[in-house]
């Protein structure tokens, strides 16, 4: 594509560098901004710039936050005896959206994967171990995908955090809610049978 202005081209390229946005969409966005008042565009820019510069990570759970402590950790009505360990922010947001979890979180920032050069020291594991030693913490809930890397991460944390009074649990694995047995694969089904539960406890 040829653009009549170098400024325009730079802006299009900037947008096109975002995930899921191609050059055509980028051009549409840029032309839209071009029609806006200059003040409005400045506001837009500031919103992005502020987000990047002002945003902090919660010093306790590594969730994104405006203050030192995120609003989940600072909320006195949340149960500090439960820590839900998640891989990343996306998983945290998804669990938060269910509205059923009232404990605190810990964001690892990834999972252990030596193939990709990610070892335990690159993740927020040390701070989790420290937190888990606090007396008020009663349970770690490992909300990590049951992949090879996920299971390795769970094992690693469980080994370092273990102490008699601390319960360590993983998410239930098996038939999905509303799922029909007919469409479940054999591995899931055999796991579900092994991990069956007494009726009435769901």
């Amino acid at each position: 594509m040829n653009y009549p202005s170098k400024f325009l081209e730079d802006a299009v390229m900037a947008f096109a560098s975002l995930p899921g946005i191609g050059k055509k969409t980028a051009l549409r966005l840029v032309l839209h901004l071009l029609q806006q008042d200059k003040d409005k565009v400045d506001e837009f820019m500031q919103a992005i710039s502020k987000m990047r510069h002002q945003l902090k990570h919660c010093k306790k759970c590594h969730n994104i936050s405006d203050q030192e402590l995120c609003n989940i950790c600072a909320n006195p009505s949340r149960d500090p005896s439960l820590i839900c360990v998640v891989e990343n922010l996306r998983d945290l947001i998804q669990i938060e959206n269910t509205g059923t979890y009232k404990g605190l979180y810990h964001v690892l920032g990834g999972i252990i994967n030596p193939l990709e050069g990610i070892g335990p020291e690159q993740l927020n594991i040390q701070s989790l171990i420290q937190r888990s030693k606090e007396k008020e913490v009663k349970e770690l809930i490992m909300a990590i995908s049951p992949t090879i890397e996920g299971d390795t991460t769970i094992f690693y944390i469980a080994r370092l955090a273990q102490r008699p009074e601390l319960k360590i649990s993983v998410l239930a694995r098996g038939i999905s809610f509303g799922g029909e047995l007919e469409y479940a694969d054999e591995i899931t089904l055999s796991r579900s049978i092994k991990a069956r539960r007494p009726y009435g406890q769901t």
């Binding site: 030596p114 690693y156 591995i187």
Partner: protein, 374 residues
């Protein structure tokens, strides 16, 4: 099992071609480079979801095209109810982008689920490499047999391999960074150990059941004059996987890889108690691998309760006329079912079948630019 109809679209040297096959012998004849083996390759792909010769998907597309499609209508005979089930397998592949295999119109979410659905044995001219090359090809022979028999074997193997790879990378990084994290290695060990024990157990059991069939076919082919053996060797014979990983840790750290485990297993082939690779003649090696493959067929048949497809690529090459005739007689009887044969000489094939007294096969003659049914 048998293949009734096969359609190739932009696969290897075929732009678009359809074949109709019979339930017994099917022959493909033609000069070198005409694409006889490509038809076998297509059948293999529909059964095992990949090339039997280790080719990449992009090497299977007709030159200059960006995708290929294969369709196969299979019939499954069920001996218990004397009824036939129809299986329509379609592979749509855009190399590097998309690979979809569907059974009766339903795409698989995991391709590995399809392996074993249509059992297959492929006998190729390069089979002598099973004897000549390193342990990897013999492990692949074991794995290909077992993954067609045992549905969960392939998952366990893939998981085991990935875990060993991760463990090796971790060991490598520890060595580079001059530190060591015992907890992480323990994490891998605890996941690898049960899988390694399971794979060892399954392989050992397989070889035990396989051996009598192998000895039977070998003596049938050679007249029983040679003493042969096929022995499974694994480091897990001495100790369990967990113990091996623990004991070898210092060595593993030094080597920066996992030195013992089922990924180092091998099959030892011998002839008159000497290693076959060093002491076997060309003909002896050829008979040996043929017996391996026929035993593989027999065991697949017993375990799956359906007759696997049998593909013979250029088998009659280098065999004398009486051996060829013997082999044909053998393959025309139970338990063998549908068989595909490639040969360069169409006339020789015709005479061979006429002499053997076997019902004449479906015969395709493949020539430059045309495929003719004789």
């Amino acid at each position: 099992m048998f293949l009734q109809r096969l359609k190739l679209i932009q696969f290897k040297n075929y732009l678009q071609k359809e074949f109709a096959f019979g339930r017994g012998f099917n022959c493909l004849s033609g000069s070198n480079g005409m694409g006889k083996t490509n038809v076998l390759e297509a059948i293999c792909y529909l059964c095992l979801t990949k090339s039997c010769r280790g080719l990449q998907d992009r090497q299977l597309v007709l030159h200059g095209k960006d995708f290929f499609r294969l369709e196969g209508d299979f019939g499954k005979e069920d001996f218990s109810v004397k009824a036939e089930e129809k299986l329509e397998v379609v592979a749509k592949v855009i190399p590097g982008k998309r690979k979809e295999i569907s059974l009766n119109g339903v795409p698989y979410t995991r391709l590995a689920d399809h392996v074993g659905c249509i059992p297959l044995v492929f006998i190729a001219p390069e089979d002598h490499l099973l004897v000549m090359e390193g342990g990897e090809v013999r492990r692949r022979f074991l794995d290909l047999s077992l993954s067609q028999i045992d549905h969960t074997y392939l998952y366990e193997l893939m998981k085991y391999n990935k875990l060993v790879k991760q463990r090796n990378y971790a060991l490598k990084q520890f060595a580079e960074q001059k530190r060591f994290d015992a907890t992480l290695i323990q994490g891998y060990n605890s996941q690898i150990a049960p899988l390694g024990d399971l794979i060892f157990h399954k392989r050992r059991e397989f070889v035990e059941e396989f051996l009598p069939h192998f000895l039977y076919y070998h003596s049938l082919i050679t007249g029983g004059k040679e003493e042969v053996s096929c022995v499974y060797r694994s480091s897990l014979e001495q100790a369990g996987m967990a113990e091996l990983l623990r004991e070898q840790l210092d060595r593993d750290r030094l080597l920066q890889r996992t030195s013992m485990g089922v990924h180092r297993d091998d099959l030892l082939f011998s002839l008159s108690r000497k290693p076959l690779r060093k002491f076997g003649s060309q003909g002896q090696i050829k008979s040996f691998v043929l017996a391996l493959k026929l035993a593989q067929y027999r065991l697949l048949f017993e375990k799956k309760k359906v007759k696997p497809l049998l593909l013979l690529d250029d088998l009659f090459d280098k065999l004398d006329a009486s051996r060829v005739l013997n082999l044909l007689q053998l393959l025309s009887k139970e338990p063998f079912g549908q068989i595909f044969i490639t040969h360069t000489e169409s006339e020789a094939l015709r005479i061979l079948f006429a002499e053997s007294g076997i019902e004449s096969p479906v015969h395709y003659c493949i020539e430059p630019g045309s495929v003719q049914k004789l």
